[in-house]
Symmetry: C2
Subunit: 107 residues, 2 copies
């Protein structure tokens, strides 16, 4: 696949408000699915499917920790994504200070 096609595919992934917000949130720290569901106020399967697209597109990596699945940004090989994220308003205030496995933030 051409390089321009690959970039277009990544931009299409980011061209959805929910996914762009997720990626902006992940800039702060890794997050589990339940946190993202909580913040974006949508259904768990909806987020799960967005995460699969982001994973298939190589933008995030997943790590299982007990019953939780954490997703982290993986954009070291895509500098233009970092540049985009610099121009997105911070989503930090939407995050709780601790992670799910360290607290009962999701219940």
């Amino acid at each position: 696949m051409s390089q321009i096609q690959e970039i277009a595919d990544v931009l299409k992934l980011l061209g959805d408000k929910n996914r762009l917000t997720i990626v902006a949130l992940l800039k702060e720290r890794e997050l589990c699915v339940c946190e993202i569901v909580d913040i974006l106020q949508t259904s768990q399967p909806n987020i799960s499917q967005h995460m699969r697209k982001l994973k298939d597109g190589g933008l995030v990596k997943e790590t299982k920790k007990g019953q939780w699945v954490y997703y982290a940004l993986h954009i070291q090989d895509k500098p233009y994504v970092s540049e985009i994220l610099k121009h997105i308003p911070s989503q930090k205030e939407q995050l709780k200070p601790v992670r799910c496995e360290d607290n009962e933030c999701c219940t």
Copy 2:
């Protein structure tokens, strides 16, 4: 509309290979529709509709010059678009050295 939604909308516009290529071409110089049709090897109505979307999204400006319509990049207010374009392979070699109104490049 939220700022993140506006950025997502722009990224969605750029998340199409044809439109991303057009924008990358326009980085070199303004172009008329017939040149873009010629380079992208697709139909004139197809390009015309992509240009309308880009125009509606505020990414390009049009200028009529006789029977030709020229489109130019308009991204001064969207620095992240410039950053993206820096990471796209140059499309310069696809351009003819002169513009349509100065030659018969489209016939």
